[in-house]
Amino acid sequence: MTRRPDTLKETPSQTAGPYVHIGCTPNFLGNTGIYPEDLGARMVNDRTRGERITITGTVWDGTGTALRDALVEIWQADADGLYPSPEETRGAADPDFAGFGRSGCDWETGAFTFATVKPGRVPYPDGRLQAPHVTVWIAARGINTGLHTRMYFADEADANAEDPVLARIEHRNRVPSLLAQPEGNGVYRFDIRLQGDHETVFFDM
């Protein structure tokens, strides 16, 4: 019998379930007194460098109903395109920028919101620059493995046109599902559609 390489299998995923807030955003839920504040609640402070933006949106299911029990997380570079991570080897990121944000969804409307800065450009493995983007991860009841997508900026048409990840999308009419639309005053709307004609592109990497 062929001997397979001696590697371990990843722990299988399970849904986050409807009560994900208890563990991940207890203060948002109203379970106060355990942690001083929820993780990912504050991405910027007064000294953070870069253009302030607000990302807001809603996660929609296949019937057009807003998910009100989802957990949305984002991870992004600072205004200079550097990640606040030990795995970042190109330089030190802005010490006043967290890079990671986490938001529950409004109990009535399903809206999620992040106050952050517009990220700089980050290289692809071959050295080409990617367009400014934000990594987005969605966990919820009914989602068996967290969904990984990216938010790009609709007002970065030139950078988006040369982005190596967007270039991998064969059906070009699906690219707009990844473009956040500017609504003025630094607000960008990014709706996530789990199914349907305008289904968001989700990635496997």
Binding site: T7, K9, E10, T11, P12, S13, Q14, A16, G17, Y19, V20, H21, I22, G23, L29, N31, G33, I34, Y35, P36, D61, G62, L67, D69, E73, W75, A77, Y83, S85, P86, E87, E88, R90, W107, V122, P123, P125, D126, G127, Q130, H133, T135, W137, R141, G142, I143, N144, T145, G146, L147, V165, R174, L194, Q195, G196, E199, V201, F202, D204, M205
Partner: protein, 241 residues
Amino acid sequence: MTKGGFIQRDRAWHPPAYAPGYKTSVTRAPGRPLISMPTTLSEETGPVFGRDMLGPRDNDLILNFARDGEAAIGERIIVHGRVTDEHGRGVPNALIEVWQANAGGRYRHRKDGYLAPLDPNFGGCGRMVTDAEGRYEFRTVKPGPYPWPNGVNDWRPSHIHFSLFGSGFAQRLISQMYFEGDPLIWQCPIVRTIPSDAAVERLIAAQDMTATIPMDALAYRFDIVLRGRRQTLFETRKEGL
């Protein structure tokens, strides 16, 4: 040797997005194939949360929501284990967040209306950061099983939810831990979204008498594997050079 990208996820090992036995997945499963891409810096970096963020009782669910001098009701247990990557190397500084129902199967959550009572001394929430070898432990009470609206008479086995961050955002994982010997495991539609029994067994914690504290708490061991990175001399990568 340099670090390559993350090893691809074995999607046939994880539960499929569309799993009709778990009814909520039907309208929340993407209908189109995932778009494949290599991991880039955006997925190979990730937030790291230091121990200085942690409070002294963050990994003690028996006490971290309890009034002074009181404690959560239920079977006292220690849950411990090791987080490694697919190469078997410990993952240090991994943030683990856990949440669970109380001993009666009731969650402290606005959407849970199960008739079992809340325990005023139990919040059901804890977190910890793995040590240099990837080890973790926390103390809690064993959660109870509870009914849920899926089939007419579906019950969740006793379980603890786990959320993990490794060193790269591509490793992000949420899963659930079950308890050895629970007959409800194999009847649960959420467990059964996982295609193989071998994969389900990876979520079942074994009772561990070596970690049990005599006259105090039983122990369960739950080891977790996160995605690993390719190790190579040959991968051409410009970033960081």
